[in-house]
Every structure is written in structure tokens, then in C-alpha cells.
């Protein structure tokens, strides 16, 4: 027979606050970065539109301005919601989707040797260091990992200990 469940229950509930804390930290990091990068785009929409155009996806050239206008604020809205823990699931999905798309597009650009970053979309040296190619791809993957962790933490929060 297995050991009495009291000790197991106590060890599980003692671990939960730590998970909750780290999930909060993950949301603040990812959400905060998205608010910062979104704001850097919002204050120079033309520069961001040009960066999107630099990917030279001809059929959607017409939509690049609209993409820049909406995407920049969507980053801020989703980032803020995630950092505050509001509409957590939806904001996590949307940020995760953006990270996946950004990572794929960055990887394609690097593979084709395109010089996408004109440096015109913002001059914050910290953001540039974090998100410029090639390290930007790894940054995005790390942020995706934090989102996955937050999703796991949310799904396991408040679950009773198994006997």
C-alpha cells in the first residue's frame, strides 16, 4: 500500500504558491516586453509599416499599413492584459500566435538573406539587442516557453492533490 496521503497533500500545496509566483513573473515579463515593443511601433507607425513592407510579400503590400496600425496596438492591448492577468487565456493565445508568426517570418528572412531591419522602427538599444536577428528568434522562443509555462500553471492552479 502507498504512504498516507497527508504528507503528499502538504508537499503539493506548499509548491503551488511558487508556481503561481513564477507564472506571474512570466506574464509580467512577456506582457511587459510586448507593451514596450508595441509602444516603440506605435510612436513610429511609418517605420513599422516599412519594416513589414521590407519582407516584400507583394500580394499583401496593400495591407502593410493596416497591419502596422492594428498590430502595434494589439501588442500593447494583449501585453497589458497578460501582465495584469486579465483575459489571461485569450491574451496568452494571441501573444503566442504573434510570437509564432514573428519567429517564422524572421527565420524565413534570415534564410533568404534579406536585410529586414532598417533600424527605423525604434532606437531603444535594449529592445534592439533583444529582438534583432539572429538572437531575436531565440528570444521569441524563450517567450513562447514562458507562455507555455503560464498556461500549464493556470491549468494546474487550485487542483486538489491526488491520493
Amino acid at each position: 500500500m502507498s504512504a498516507a496521503p497527508v504528507e503528499a497533500t502538504a508537499s503539493r500545496t506548499e509548491g503551488m504558491p511558487a508556481t503561481t509566483f513564477f507564472a506571474l513573473l512570466a506574464r509580467i515579463i512577456v506582457g511587459g516586453l510586448f507593451v514596450a515593443t508595441g509602444w516603440a511601433k506605435v510612436v513610429n507607425l511609418r517605420g513599422f509599416a516599412e519594416e513589414i513592407q521590407n519582407y516584400d510579400i507583394a500580394p499583401i503590400a496593400l495591407l502593410t499599413n493596416a497591419a502596422a496600425i492594428v498590430l502595434s496596438w494589439f501588442e500593447i492591448v494583449a501585453g497589458l492584459l497578460l501582465a495584469l492577468g486579465l483575459w489571461r487565456r485569450e491574451s496568452r493565445w494571441m501573444i503566442g500566435l504573434m510570437l509564432i508568426v514573428f519567429t517564422v517570418v524572421k527565420a524565413m528572412a534570415m534564410a533568404s538573406g534579406q536585410n529586414i531591419e532598417c533600424g527605423c522602427g525604434g532606437d531603444n538599444p535594449l529592445l534592439k539587442a533583444i529582438f534583432s536577428n539572429p538572437q531575436g528568434i531565440f528570444t521569441n522562443l524563450a517567450l513562447l516557453g514562458l507562455l507555455v509555462f503560464d498556461g500549464w500553471a493556470q491549468n494546474h492552479a487550485g487542483r486538489p492533490a491526488r491520493p
Binding site: 517605420g47 499599413n65 493596416a66 496600425i69 502595434s72 496596438w73 494589439f74 492584459l81 527605423c120 532606437d123
Partner: protein, 203 residues
């Protein structure tokens, strides 16, 4: 799931609303000018394959001391949030290649014979090079006493003690009726033939 879709729709709607305000304030249309985009991408292609005359920070200081025309090639939004300032006329001009050069030809024509320095955001930015190519396409290169690019750009200039300011470029050019009363450099003969103007002394 319906609740999640509704929340995502609200997030999108809020983004569209806020984006509309930002786009209006920055003069960015919702629909891109495909032809202008194509021209800009072709210009980038040209820029990527050639070298351009550049200058160091020390040479930039010397150019400013000599009254060179300084052109900031960043977007108006970036220029308004911070740019180099000089103590003479013309002030630092904001010419954003994407907006075209035609609207600036009038005031540029009045600056023929002067040395020009261009800068953008940073080493990664090629807007100054794009502007250089546009000058070339408009046949303006030989009209100035040399055009050079300060490659480190605004990111470097912010770290220096060179004067900086904010706000838009509102310089309309020299007022022909007043002659050159607003000129602030000591010796107009350095750049112009003073005999060609009635009021050639600095104000």
C-alpha cells in the same frame, strides 16, 4: 469558446480604434501606396549594393561649425521626438525619403552650393542612403558642396553634447523678398555670391 472569441474580437476592436487615432495623427493612410512601396524597395536594393561618402563625428562637428545643411532622414514622428539642432539657418531639415523629394525641392534649390550632411537612426538604418540616391536621381548631387552621411546616426548623436531639440521641421526656406536678413553665418561669401543679393548681411 464563444466567450474567448468575443474577448479576442474586443481586443481587436480596441486596437483598431486606437490605431485609427495614431494613424491619423501620424498621417499614415490605412491603404499603402503600392507603387511608392515598390519604388522604396527598389531604392533599398540599389543602396545595398554601393558605398556612400561618410563622415566621422569630428568631421560632423566641423561641418556644423562651417554652417553645413544638416538633413535628418528619419520619419516625421521620430524627428519630432528628438533631433539635432543648429544655431544657424537653415535649421536641421527633416526629409523622409518615403514621402518623396518633390515637396522639398523649392527650399533645397535655395541651398545650392552648401555642404550637406545626412543622418538616420543608426548603423542599421538606410534612409540617409536612400535620400542620397533620390538626390542623385533628381540630379542634385553636383549642386551641393559635397553630401556625406553620418552613419552612426541619431542613436550616437543622442550620446554627444551636440544641441538637440524636439518638434517638427517648419522651415519654409529663404524668404526671397527679405533677401538674406535671417542668415546667421558670418561670411556669406563662404557659400553664396553676396553681390547677387541686396540684403546680404546677417541679421
Amino acid at each position: 469558446m464563444n466567450g474567448s472569441l468575443a474577448r479576442i474580437a474586443i481586443m481587436l476592436l480596441v486596437s483598431v480604434g486606437l490605431g485609427t487615432v495614431s494613424a491619423y495623427r501620424q498621417g499614415l493612410p490605412w491603404i499603402a501606396d503600392v507603387e511608392a512601396v515598390r519604388e522604396r524597395l527598389e531604392r533599398r536594393e540599389v543602396v545595398s549594393k554601393r558605398e556612400f561618402p561618410t563622415l566621422t563625428l569630428e568631421e560632423l562637428r566641423e561641418a556644423i561649425a562651417a554652417g553645413a545643411v544638416i538633413i535628418d532622414s528619419r520619419s516625421p514622428a521620430e524627428f519630432n521626438s528628438g533631433h539635432l539642432v543648429v544655431s544657424y539657418e537653415p535649421p536641421v531639415l527633416n526629409i523622409y525619403p518615403t514621402d518623396g523629394l518633390e515637396q522639398h525641392l523649392g527650399r533645397l534649390n535655395a541651398l545650392f552650393g552648401m555642404p550637406v550632411v545626412m543622418y538616420c537612426t543608426s548603423l542599421d538604418c538606410d534612409l540617409a542612403e536612400q535620400l542620397y540616391v533620390m538626390f542623385e536621381q533628381f540630379g542634385l548631387l553636383d549642386n551641393f558642396a559635397g553630401i556625406r552621411i553620418f552613419k552612426p546616426g541619431w542613436v550616437e548623436l543622442e550620446r554627444t553634447d551636440l544641441p538637440r531639440g524636439t518638434g517638427p521641421d517648419t522651415w519654409a526656406g529663404w524668404d526671397a523678398d527679405d533677401g538674406y536678413d535671417d542668415m546667421s553665418f558670418d561670411d556669406p561669401d563662404d557659400f553664396f555670391d553676396a553681390d547677387a543679393f541686396e540684403d546680404g548681411d546677417s541679421g
